[in-house]
Amino acid sequence: MADPVLSIRDLSVEIPTRHGIVRPVDGVSYDIQAGEILGIVGESGAGKSMAGNAVIGLLNPPAHISKGEIWLNGQRIDHLKGDAMRRLRGKEIGMVFQDPLTSLNPLLRIGDQLTETMMTHLTISRAEAEKRAVAALEEVGIPGAAERVNSYPHEFSGGMRQRVVIALALCAEPSLVIADEPTTALDVSVQAQIIALLRRLCRDRGTAVMLITHDMGVIAEATDRVAVMYAGRLAELGSVRDVLTHPQHPYTHGLMASTPLASQGKRRLHQIPGAMPRLDAVPDGCAFNPRCPHATDKCRQAPLPRLSGGRAACWYPLVDEKVI
């Protein structure tokens, strides 16, 4: 196996608050290979976006990386500051946000936003950048790209805007794309198109993708591997087929059981009792223990086993319990 494009090692993010320090990302490790799509899934507040923000260096103060390492193409980037980090953004790491309606500057033509980005990172002339902007829009499937470069964002529909956003994220040809809930704000009808587009572009270019979502459908459809996060920690990490069909962590299991998958047909959905803990009140031991049907005293007291070799961070991984 080649070196991963992105390698996160034991990453923790901390936010000091009046209620004490909270850790929205706590000891997380995973790799993404070139051309691979890694899905990050979890409830809101589970720390999945925070991890993405940590990678691209856009944590909002006072949030900061407190521990761990981030390696990008063999270069350690978690300690980079200011301009050094800025050069990586867009150039090495592209990012797609959730809401295409607010991701584009309403006052600038999309062509300008594209050329501006390219000219920041690539040593090309304006004319060349303009040419590439049209090509980039064509690539993401915008009809009449040559004219639409002069349009303003409000002249596009939501799905089209997200295509523009993807074009923007990819225009400097980064090796990693972080897509933070890229379809959540879109109509169901265009979600699949966008996912397919993202998948196609990255496969073609060999771009690594971190696809953050809470939508199991998107995970099933688009990703190669999946990381399940709970209360800032990695609960389970494995190939998408394994995790979806044979979850080992009780939380993943519960999550799968509560997700309506097309294959399942009509059936009463399962609910996980309780709610994810506040980040300033994560219980000792396994964070999931208050809600876990299998929890023992060990789960409540002993420090959580870190995910290393195995798939699930659990004392009692479920073995071959199919979700039906």
């Binding site: 936010i15 009046r18 809101s44 507040g45 709610a275 994810m276 506040r278």
Partner: protein, 314 residues
């Protein structure tokens, strides 16, 4: 961060207040605490001026003209009386006059802002909630009002009020006219903010629900919409208070302020500026410092409040 699940458990009001984010950020901001302390001290001394002040400068019978122009903490050449901050041209104790003057300034400021707030909120709620012609009329009126510089509005109102008030009441009217004048020149921004917020809120589910279960528009506006627009209103109110106090001083300079026998801080400054070159600096300096401290603290508090009430800026 705002999407962290927040537990709901019953708490006393005080507990809620002390536990609130507002109080927390307050404790973390030395500027806010100092400003609040200054405002509190000044407000306290204004309210209890009759108890604190050594003399009552509003009682003409108690004044001794020969005490006029006594420098601070220096015995008067004729009467031998000594005053902490000196006396003004009428022999009034500057310290007492400041306390009493602040009373008037604060009263005018608070009342004017309150008036502007009530008017602005009412009209803003109505125009936002009812819409249609009512909205057009209210908001066009607001435009006309904005068209007119606030000091001119205040001067016009002052002129008209002086004219229409029966002569017997005119003397007591000055203060109320000031309140009316400043308040009327200030309601528009409240109305605009409230209207904007109302437009947003009225389409939210909870308002729709309240409407469906048959709440009257008045009740919906008061119980459901109003609480949601209060924080921007509070911010505007704070800053308006400082502006109102200054506006009162400016009007006084233009000769339409508080009567000289019951001077406000602004009137004191207007009077005091006449002694800037003559060496009686204390007549101007102390009221000016007081006004500066008051307005500055209120402004700083307003600043802090704006940031504190806007969770996204925190």
């Amino acid at each position: 961060m705002s999407d962290f699940p927040i537990p709901v458990k019953p708490q006393s009001r005080l507990r809620i207040a002390l536990d609130s984010d507002l109080f927390y950020t307050f404790r973390r901001s030395p500027v806010a605490m100092v400003s609040a302390a200054v405002v509190l001290v000044l407000m306290f001394s204004a309210i209890f001026a009759p108890l604190i002040a050594p003399t009552n400068p509003f009682n003409p019978a108690s004044l001794n003209l020969m005490n006029g122009f006594t420098p601070p903490m220096t015995p008067n050449a004729f009467t031998g009386d000594s005053f902490l901050l000196g006396t003004d041209d009428q022999g009034r104790d500057v310290f007492s006059t400041i306390l009493y003057g602040m009373r008037i300034s604060l009263f005018v400021g608070v009342a004017a802002v309150f008036f502007a707030m009530v008017l602005g909120i009412t009209l803003g709620l109505i125009s936002g909630y009812v819409g249609g012609w009512t909205e057009t009329i209210i908001m066009r009126t607001a435009d006309v009002q904005l068209t007119f510089p606030s000091i001119l509005v205040a001067m016009l109102i002052f002129g008209i009020a002086k004219g229409v008030t029966p002569v017997e009441y005119r003397d007591q009217m000055a203060i109320w006219v000031l309140i009316l004048a400043i308040g009327l020149s200030d309601w528009v921004q409240f109305a605009r903010v409230v209207r904007g917020a109302t437009l947003v809120e009225k389409n939210k589910e909870y308002v729709q629900a309240a409407r469906l279960i048959g709440r009257t528009p008045g009740a919906i506006m008061l119980r459901h919409i109003l609480p949601n627009v209060l924080s921007p209103v509070l911010v505007i109110a704070t800053i308006s208070l400082a502006l109102a106090i200054i506006a009162e001083a400016t009007l006084s300079f233009l000769g339409v302020g508080a009567p000289p026998t019951q001077p406000s801080l602004g009137t004191l400054i207007r009077i005091g500026q006449g002694f800037l070159f003559s060496g009686e600096w204390w007549i101007l300096l102390f009221p000016a410092i007081t006004l500066l401290a008051l307005a500055l603290s209120v402004n700083l508090l307003g600043d802090w409040l704006r940031d504190a009430l806007n969770p996204r800026l925190r």
